[in-house]
Subunit: 195 residues, 2 copies
Amino acid sequence: MGKTEWKGGTLEGPLPPVMVTCGDMEHADIVTVAWTGIVCTQPPMTYISLRPSRYSYGIIKERGEFVINLTPANLVRAADWCGNHTGRKVDKFKACHLSKIAASHMDVPLIEESPLALECVVKEIIHLGSHDMFLSEIVGVDVDDSLITPEGRLSISRAHLAAFAHGEYFEIGRRIGKFGFSVRKKQNQNKDQKH
Amino acid sequence: MGKTEWKGGTLEGPLPPVMVTCGDMEHADIVTVAWTGIVCTQPPMTYISLRPSRYSYGIIKERGEFVINLTPANLVRAADWCGNHTGRKVDKFKACHLSKIAASHMDVPLIEESPLALECVVKEIIHLGSHDMFLSEIVGVDVDDSLITPEGRLSISRAHLAAFAHGEYFEIGRRIGKFGFSVRKKQNQNKDQKH
């Protein structure tokens, strides 16, 4: 088998199809984006890239804060719906039967049904072309108690996160191993692979 | 169930654990990163964030180009190994039995065993803290012929991509639907859900 060369395109994956909330507890919006990721470990930093035409763009630019709500498989339909409607015309929390709860660090609602939320403060807006990148610091994380093991650790498998790749949504499947599993001693490796 | 508030952290996911190649056909290195994503659709742009201490950091900074090789589930062990060794001491292509093939737009090898590769030209390096972000344009994409359907379309499911979340690697599982499935007519929705 060979390779076929295509022109440059946004074919990276899997990416997280996250539901970004903005506005305040009374007037909030939800915009779904997959153009997001981690850009720095210390300080913890992320970004979202948005088209300036999006309703949420103006709100986030003005308020300088937003929340990234991770999307589990059972919320993919809601996430897709929020990505295909505008908050100019509809209250997406109501339309999707999602619940608002207060964030810890800002006056922006979290989506209660999302298992993990990242509270973000905008540091810089970078104009790139079709999209502007909101480079942001993650100032707090809200973890659903259902993800926390009896030992107090976060089990990400319990979140049943969805993935996005080349225009399609997928469930996360079988666990392959932990970072570093290829260099750990045999004993631990086997333990890892069993889970 | 309630929520527990944690301090800010890099808890976004799933992210792509990609193998980044750099250098030339003779002296090449592979560094694995999950701090990557799409930042702009037009022009197609991506980034990788690297610690300045990484061997590949200097190579990419000097040459201004690199390739993002997506990681299928069967290459996760190699990807993890490349993320836990330094190219200062070892030839990772040889050590992992990976094959170099020429890129189309630059003198950087692709990993032949990777089903999808993005050829990237660095536009700007942004200092953030522990990591520097290499903001880059995707100038070409190399698609393994095994991903292309008889109709000439790219089937991302055939790539069997791996995902990374909170320090663990996962397989991509069941397909949930296509972008827009929540707003399409019933007929198409059912068709989608069957696949």
